[in-house]
């Protein structure tokens, strides 16, 4: 500090105090940016570069021949025009939106109920519940989907056997994927099952932040449980819920593994959610340009969807913080 002060005083005819406060001001303002600079550079490199590449690829005609020659053919926005005018694409977007909405709603509702439950039970049961959730969360995705697939198997599945045993009807040789609605129901079960642990545990952590005094005050005033939930708990949790909702939406919009693996890597056309459609175009039909265009449209849609969430989140954080 001393050296800095003397250098400053020999360099300019200013008072020592002013110069050192200017330097420390710059250091204070600049330090945060300097500290996050390495991480930012890495993130931009690892995430930004492929995104730019994807954008570039989506403007190219890039089939097998181009792959072997390492050279695409520039076609401008032709790929997007092809995709957007494809009637199948309209179906794909519809299916993806409905699928996402159902999954997000179910995941969040069930997770909230479980989080509330964990608050109220004895600590022994809470630990059991928490451990169960963590086990589910820790199961690697592909083996988990495999297990579910075997349970719902046409020939050897235990669900068919169980349902027949308890008299819910004749489910021997029942094919769950013949009808897309039933098939998507099964896929939703698997997706929601996998999504609940993270959401429930995070909400449970959030619930511990709800001020007990407010809850007690509401109870004294005669509020019922549901009223307490809507008027005290939910507003406190709002920023957290918004973040979880946006994460949930983004993840469920991108679901690929569950659909792909459960249908033995050959899903019928009625099962094409957007990520599957993009993959099919790129790697099965070897039209990488078209597949990239679908992916770009997906990113754009997701940015649009999450824009509102993020804006709401920032607003509510500012309200809470300021």
């Amino acid at each position: 500090m001393r050296a800095a002060g003397s250098i400053a005083s020999t360099a300019r005819p200013r008072s020592r105090g002013e110069a050192s406060s200017l330097r420390s001001l710059v250091a204070r303002k600049g330090l945060p940016y300097a500290l996050i600079a390495p991480a930012t550079v890495v993130i931009l490199g690892v995430l930004g570069w492929p995104l730019l590449d994807l954008l570039y690829l989506s403007t190219q005609h890039y089939g097998l021949r181009e792959l072997f020659q390492h050279q695409g053919r520039f076609v401008g926005l032709q790929n997007f025009a092809t995709i957007l005018s494809d009637p199948q694409f309209k179906y794909v977007v519809e299916v993806t939106v409905i699928f996402t909405a159902v999954n997000v709603a179910l995941s969040m509702t069930l997770a909230t109920i479980i989080a509330l439950l964990m608050e109220r039970v004895s600590s022994f049961v809470r630990v059991l519940l928490g451990a169960g959730l963590v086990f589910v969360w820790a199961t690697p995705v592909i083996p988990a989907i495999d297990l579910w697939q075997w349970m719902f198997d046409y020939e050897f599945g235990v669900i068919n056997w169980l349902l027949t045993r308890i008299g819910a009807g004749n489910y021997i040789h029942h094919n769950w994927f013949e009808n897309p609605v039933q098939g998507f129901t099964v896929i939703t079960i698997v997706v929601v099952w996998g999504a609940i642990p993270f959401l429930a545990l995070t909400l449970h952590a959030g619930l511990t932040q709800v001020p007990k005094e407010l809850v007690e005050a509401a109870q004294i005033d005669g509020a019922r449980a549901l009223q307490i939930f809507t008027n005290v708990t939910l507003p406190t949790l709002k920023p957290l819920v918004l973040v979880l909702l946006s994460l949930s939406t983004i993840w469920d919009f991108q679901v690929f593994n569950q659909v792909w693996v459960m249908l033995n890597q050959r899903p019928g056309e009625s099962y094409f959610v957007m990520s599957v459609f993009s993959f099919q175009e790129s790697f099965r039909v070897s039209q990488y340009g078209l597949g990239s265009a679908v992916a770009v449209i997906m990113v754009a849609l997701l940015i649009l969807l999450s824009f509102f969430y993020v804006r709401q989140t920032v607003r509510s954080i500012n309200e809470a913080g300021a």
Partner: protein, 333 residues
């Protein structure tokens, strides 16, 4: 590299494989190579790979079940239906029993029925392909098949054939259409039932003309050299070895597959010999660079599923598939 024979055209057309037309005489037995495999290696008159091995399908059946039901090995499609009906009469009360287990998406087992009646997947005139799966002949074959499946099969109508060997090993199935090597899977000590081996027999898929066999799809692999390989000579030496008499003989006697040359087919014995004999009447899928895209788009599988689940009539389902095939095969890549 080893390539599935239906994929070679796609890679050859896009410049991935080295042209070895000039070196054909270097390879042993090139004069007696299996015709279908050689066709799969030829694109626009040039040779791009060497046949490696083939597999064909026949019907694997339970001899004990046939005896118990009084059924005899069929020599025509009508006989096949009769034998199946006898089996269903005897064992059909078991809800899991199938006389002929036929998963809906099993395109390669459906093809013989289409071809036997003179139908085809697609025909080529000049450089234009036209889907032919909706021709009268193709539809006739599919009608016969649908009748067989409805009466004799309780397999998943929207499923594929990947688990059929494990299902067969469970003991509730009398016949499956399968490759020769599937005998090994059925009798595998870990995943199958080794006690079934003495009870297994095989016969070629019969034609609707008594005494003949239906044409089967000749699956198989070819060996190609990457066009960008920097060691083309070494690669050729390797392929020469793999495709030569010494290793091909071993593949027949030990591996139980069909070799790349008719001169060695006689080496196979037992059950594999029946599959090798069936391979003599074999056909291939349209040799177009875009054929792989038809496979990837599941056109034929989806068509079969629609037919078997009664979601579409045979004429509607085949028309849709045929139009798609025409579109995909004629697309410029």
């Amino acid at each position: 590299m080893e390539l599935g024979n239906t994929l070679v055209a796609k890679y050859a057309a896009n410049g991935a494989l080295a042209d070895i037309s000039g070196k054909k005489s270097d390879f042993e037995n090139s004069g007696t190579w299996l015709q279908s495999l050689t066709d799969s290696c030829t694109y626009q008159g040039k040779l791009y790979c060497v046949p490696y091995y083939a597999g064909s399908r026949a019907i694997i059946y339970r001899k004990d079940m046939f005896d118990a039901a009084g059924a005899t090995v069929p020599t025509s499609m009508d006989d096949l239906l009769t034998a199946g009906q006898k089996l269903m009469a005897k064992y059909g009360s078991d809800p899991r029993f199938s006389a002929l287990y036929f998963p809906g998406k099993y395109w390669y087992a459906a093809a013989p029925f289409v071809w036997d009646f003179g139908g085809d997947i697609a025909t080529q005139s000049g450089s234009q392909w036209t889907g032919a799966i909706n021709s009268a002949n193709s539809q006739q074959g599919l009608t016969v098949l649908k009748n067989l499946v409805t009466q004799l099969s309780r397999a998943d109508k929207t499923g594929d054939e990947l688990k059929q060997d494990q299902a067969f090993a469970q003991g509730h199935i009398a016949m499956i259409i399968a490759n020769g090597w599937e005998v090994g899977v059925i009798t595998d000590p870990k995943a199958g039932d080794p006690t079934l081996l003495p009870k297994l027999g095989a016969f070629p898929i019969p034609s609707h003309n008594a005494g003949q066999t239906a044409p089967v799809f000749l699956g198989g692999s070819d060996l190609g050299i990457a066009a960008k390989s920097q060691h083309q000579d070494l690669a050729r030496e390797w392929i020469k070895l793999l495709g030569g008499t010494k290793f091909q003989s071993q593949m027949v006697t030990v591996g139980g597959v069909i070799p790349n040359t008719t001169s060695l087919v006689s080496l196979s014995s037992g059950l594999p010999a029946i599959f090798a004999a069936a391979a003599k009447n074999s056909r291939f899928t349209p040799n177009s660079p875009n054929w792989a895209n038809v496979e990837s788009a599941n056109v034929l599988q989806d068509m079969l599923v629609a037919i078997f689940t009664n979601k579409a009539s045979i004429s509607d389902a085949t028309k849709t598939a045929s139009d798609k095939i025409t579109q995909i095969l004629n697309a410029s890549s």
